[in-house]
């Protein structure tokens, strides 16, 4: 059978122009994120809280997309790993007086180790089995946290010390934005490396990857562990920003929320989920504040948006941007990272 060769292989200058455009695009995005809290209405404390939720959700969604978009495994228990990091950091601070900053790293470590074990057990399975097993492990972890109230205070909630000595939201915003940049930066670096190449090979065609000498399970486990570790790190921020922890942070509905953001943003791009999380969370926050009489409306909209994306635009927001810019600059080669694995 003839394979379809790329008829529009980019020339060197085109590739350079594309790289420059991407740099400009990224710089503009970073600048917007950095100055946003000084632009009305985001100067208000309420709006800054929405921005913090946005940045946190962006980072979760990036960690989720790292697995879902690159090795094609949906980590349906991601929220449980967030919770694991949060509880580790929270308990270290409450019971042993350890600084939340160290706690966050410890949380990442614990979530990573549990992620490693989970991955080694479940990633021999593929697709649906892996997703559902991750879900069950998440449920079991949540059950565990709920069932040892002597340690975790269970559903009553664990009061955790604040990360910073201030009730102002602005410094927290820059902390979480820094965490978001670290998450994106590290995961991007991994994807650009040789390991990342293996990820994509596995995600797109497992059999071919095996044939070319890649040990898939090893790479799947590396990816899964990294993703869980970052979830744990972000969980640490969650614990010391909100100041109260209940097992609900580990609930499946929380994972579904992250998943929705990641897919609406566009899977397999990292930046799509990160960008879309901000407007989504601000709108969510506003809806919650304005329509307190209609609880859950924002989640209905979320769900509808996810359904619409799945049915009409599987490549999500990132795909929309890619096709828009293709129309603006027709000679541009296909963005190497912006194409979803769906044909």
């Amino acid at each position: 059978m003839a394979t379809v060769t790329d008829m529009t292989a980019p020339t060197r200058t085109q590739a350079k122009a594309f790289a420059r455009r991407r740099m400009i695009f990224a710089t503009v995005l970073v600048a917007i994120v950095l100055v946003l809290p000084f632009i009305p209405p985001f100067t208000g404390q309420d709006y800054q809280r929405f921005l913090i939720t946005g940045a946190l959700m962006a980072a979760y969604a990036v960690a989720f997309d790292f697995t879902a978009g690159y090795i094609d495994i949906v980590n349906f228990g991601l929220a449980a790993f967030v919770g694991l990091g949060a509880y580790t950091s929270g308990l270290l601070a409450v019971d042993y007086g350890i600084s939340p900053w160290i706690g966050m790293v410890a949380g990442a470590f614990v979530a990573g180790v549990v992620g490693l074990l989970t991955g080694m057990l479940t990633l021999r399975l593929r697709g649906m089995y892996a997703a559902v097993m991750a879900w069950f492990v998440g449920l079991a972890l949540m059950g565990l946290v709920r069932n040892v109230p002597d340690i975790t205070r269970g559903s009553l909630g664990l009061s955790t010390p604040q990360l910073l000595n201030t009730s102002n939201n602005l410094p927290y915003y820059y902390v979480i934005v820094a965490l978001l940049f670290i998450t994106i930066g590290v995961l991007m670096m991994v994807i650009r490396s040789k390991i990342g190449l293996a990820f994509r090979a596995i995600g797109q065609n497992l059999a071919a990857a095996k044939a070319s000498g890649i040990n898939p399970t090893r790479y799947l486990v590396i990816n899964f562990t990294l993703s869980c570790a970052f979830a744990g790190l972000l969980g640490g921020f969650y614990a010391h920003y909100y100041g109260i922890l209940t097992p609900d942070v580990m609930a499946t509905s929380h994972t579904v929320e992250i998943l929705a953001v990641a897919y609406i943003g566009g899977r397999g791009t990292l930046w799509g989920p990160a960008v879309i999380a901000f407007p989504l969370m601000v709108i969510t926050g506003l809806l919650q504040a304005q329509l307190a009489s209609l609880p859950g409306l924002e989640l209905v909209l979320y769900g509808l948006l996810l359904i619409l994306v799945m049915v009409f635009r599987p490549s999500g927001f990132a795909g929309l941007v890619a096709s828009l810019s293709n129309r603006l600059w027709p000679a541009r080669p296909e963005a190497p990272t912006a194409s979803a694995p769906t044909p």
Partner: protein, 353 residues
């Protein structure tokens, strides 16, 4: 173009395996162990046997529906619990006025007192079927057009969105109140094997068994049921035989959600309707389906009783909260030894999806 015909997943010819060896497998040992435990508990702690059978029957309805849509349509339905929720809601609204009429009529043995509860369940089945059928036409048929390679995962994500919409939609319209009934049949409990069992429990068990028998007979004997199995085994072959996929998909989705709605309705006295009432049944149904092997309907029915027993034992001897923890450890153990589930999966290519 010389593709070798896909090697059929040849089921071993049972007659060629010695009788003793056939039952010495892990699967049969677990089934045997469970049956023995059920009999032993009937004497030692009868309520465990009763609870296992009652909830097991209902999880069997849930899991059979979930396995069916996976087998026939390759849909992994994360919104299956919401059909349970819809069933309980419909049963509540249909049965409550009937219940009032039942109490207004103190003269004893009216027909209403015996058959009244069935009205709620029948309504739930009808609405459940309709909702499932509409979802197939409105959502899955569209998704089928745009999604080929990633179909299974995409249905999972689509139904995750659907679940969020239905749960929060229910909350928007009806609030977070629990809407339940204290009992369906207003008669004193019956004494069976030394323990008193409410008539609602007996009814739930009988309804489950009768429904499962009817459902299996439908799949085995009716032309439509046979067509559903045909679609599950070979879609192209089914089309060659003149079977309309769209028609079968509508019936399958409708039946699956009708079964879940029936479970929700029949358990209204135990699980009062609320937006999140479907979550635990959903988890257990998925648990059963993974344990039994994706898409294996018969396996799901047996698996439901195994899971129900694990659940009941955890609650009795360790505590309600551990229901999620212990069965998961059990499942991981089973999957380490039998990665495609206790009863294996007939669905082609599930592993690569």
């Amino acid at each position: 173009m010389t593709t070798t015909p896909a090697a059929a997943p040849a089921p071993t010819n049972l007659r060629s395996v010695p009788l003793v060896k056939r039952f010495l497998t892990l699967t049969w040992m677990i089934i045997g162990l469970m049956s023995a435990a059920l009999v032993v508990f009937a004497f030692v702690q009868p309520s465990i046997t009763v609870d296992t059978l009652v909830t097991g029957g209902m999880w069997a309805l849930m899991a059979a529906g979930l396995a069916l849509v996976f087998g026939v349509m390759n849909i992994s339905n994360f919104a299956h619990g919401e059909f349970f929720m819809i069933g309980s809601l419909v049963a509540y609204f249909v049965f409550t006025p009937i219940q009032n009429a039942m109490y207004d009529d103190p003269t004893g043995t009216s027909l209403l007192k015996i058959f009244g509860p069935f009205a709620g369940m029948i309504a739930a089945v009808a609405v459940g079927f309709l909702v499932g059928a509409v979802l197939e036409v409105v959502l899955f048929r569209r998704l089928r057009r745009v999604s080929k390679d990633q179909w299974v995962m995409n249905t999972f994500l689509l139904t995750a969105g659907l679940s969020v919409v239905l749960v929060n939609g229910d909350q928007l319209v009806f609030g977070t109140d629990f809407r339940g009934v204290s009992r369906y049949w207003d008669v004193p409990p019956v004494r069976i094997i030394g323990t008193s069992v409410s008539v609602d429990r007996i009814a739930a068990f009988v309804i489950a068994i009768v429904t499962i028998l009817l459902f299996s007979a439908f799949l085995r004997r009716s032309q439509t049921g046979r067509a559903m199995r045909a679609v599950a085994q070979d879609e192209a072959g089914a089309q060659m035989a003149g079977i309309s996929l769209n028609r079968i998909f509508i019936i399958t989705m409708g039946l699956s959600s009708a079964l879940a709605a029936l479970a929700g309705a029949a358990l209204l006295w135990l699980y009062p309707s609320s937006p999140t009432v479907g979550q635990q049944p959903l988890q257990l149904a998925w648990f059963v389906v993974i344990l039994a092997g994706l898409g294996n309907v018969q396996g799901a029915i047996i698996g439901a009783f195994i899971v129900s027993m694990l659940q009941t034992l955890s609650v009795y001897y360790i505590g309600v909260g551990w229901v999620d923890v212990l069965p998961t450890l059990f499942l991981i153990l089973i999957l380490l030894f039998k990665p495609s589930g206790l009863f294996g999966s007939e669905v082609k290519g599930v592993w690569e999806q």
